[in-house]
Amino acid sequence: MKEIVIISGKGGTGKTSITASFAALSKDAVFADCDVDAADLHLLLQPLAIKSMPFISGNVARINEQKCSGCGTCNSLCRFDAVQPGTPYTINPTDCEGCGVCVHFCPEQAIEFPPQRCGEWFQSETRFGPMIHAALDIGAENSGKLVSLVRQEARNLAEANQHELILIDGPPGIGCPVIAATTGAHAVFVITEPTCSGKHDLLRVLELTEHFDIPTYICVNKWDINPDMTQQIKIAGEEKGATFIGTIPYDQQITKAQIEGKTIVEWGDTIAAIAIKEIWNSFCEQLGIAS
C-alpha cells in the first residue's frame, strides 16, 4: 500500500483539480482530503457519506459564574489573552489554547475543562472509490490533528479492504497541517505554478520534504503563463533533489469542468486533460503503481 500526498506550498495552483483528476484515473485507491481548513475535493468527487463521527480534540476552559469570586488569577496567568475581566470573568473560547493553567490555579476551582468538539469527519463513497474527509468547525483549532485522523482512517480503510493506493489532497503552507499530512508518506507530489511566488514557496516545501526525507515529485501547472519561470523551477527543483515529472498548460476548461462538478479528465480530451493523463502514467510507472 502506497501513500501519496499532493501539496503545493502556495495556494491556488490547481492542487485539488489535479488531485481529483488523479482520483478519476486511479484504479484502486482510497482518497483523503487533508485540506481540512478549506476542503474542496468533495465539490468534484461528490462523496455520499456512509458514516460520520465527531472530531474531539483537547479541552476548553469555561468559568462557572456561580463559583467565580472575580479574583483575576486566571487573567493574570493566561498567556493567550483569552480571559475577559468582569463579574464574573469569562473566557473567549476562540482564544483559549486549552492549556489548563487557569483551571489548575483557580483558587475557587471555578473553571471547568470539558473536551472540545472541533469538527466532524466522514467516510464516504464516490464514483471513483472510497473517501475520507472532514470539516473543521468554524473557529475551531488543531487542524493538524484532524489531518492525522483523516490520514489514519484512510489508512485503516485501505488496509482493511486491501487498496493499493491512498491519494491525499494536502493543505497549503508548510506548517502543522502540512507536516501532519506528509510525514512518513511514500511520496510527495508538488503542484506549483510558474510565478516568482510559486517558485519561492516550492523551495520552502522542498526544504521541508528534504527535512523529513520524503521522495518528492514536481509538476508545473499553467506552465505557458511563463515558460522561462517554468524552466527555472525545473532546474531549482532538480538541484534540490526532486524529480521533475511534467507540465500542464493553462486551460480555461478546468474552471468550466469545476462549475459542472467534474474533473477535467472526465470533461473531455482538453489540453490539460491530456497532460494530466501523461503525468499520471509516468508517476505511476516511477512509483510502481498500476496506472
Binding site: 483537547g58 486549552g98 489514519q152 502543522c176
Partner: protein, 120 residues
C-alpha cells in the same frame, strides 16, 4: 516479568493494534504466572497531541519491560528507551502469537523509531 502488547480487543486471541500512541488498549502480560490485565488507552485517542508520549507513560507505569506493537514514533521511542523498555515491532496477527514469538526469542528489538512522528 511483564510485557505489553497493543491490541484492539480484550483477549489473547485479539488482533495486535498496529498503532502505538493511539492504540485502543494495552494487554499487560505476566510471563511468570501467565495472566494478563487490560489497560485502556482511551484518554490518548482524544489527546490534542503527544499520544505516543502518554502511551509510553502507561507502559512504564504498569511496569512492563517490553512493548510489542506495530509502529513506534521517535518521541515514544526516546521515552521507552530512557525507561529501559524494549520495543519489539511485530506484525503477527494475534496477541497470543506475538507472545509466543517473543518467548521463542524470534522478535528483533527496534534500534530506532519505526515511523516518523505524526506531529500531533
Amino acid at each position: 516479568m511483564k510485557i505489553a502488547i497493543s491490541t484492539t480487543g480484550n483477549t489473547l486471541d485479539a488482533a495486535i493494534d498496529p498503532r502505538f500512541g493511539r492504540a485502543a488498549r494495552f494487554l499487560i502480560y505476566d510471563l511468570d504466572d501467565k495472566t494478563f490485565t487490560l489497560v485502556e488507552n482511551e484518554q490518548n485517542l482524544n489527546a490534542a497531541q503527544g499520544a505516543g508520549i502518554q502511551a509510553a507513560k502507561i507502559i512504564a507505569d504498569n511496569e512492563a519491560k517490553a512493548i510489542i506493537s506495530g509502529q513506534c514514533g521517535p518521541k515514544a521511542f526516546k521515552i521507552l528507551s530512557a525507561a529501559g523498555i524494549t520495543i519489539y515491532p511485530c506484525d503477527a496477527g494475534s496477541v497470543a502469537e506475538a507472545i509466543e514469538l517473543y518467548t521463542a526469542g524470534a522478535l528483533q528489538p527496534a534500534k530506532d523509531a519505526t515511523v516518523e512522528g505524526h506531529w500531533v
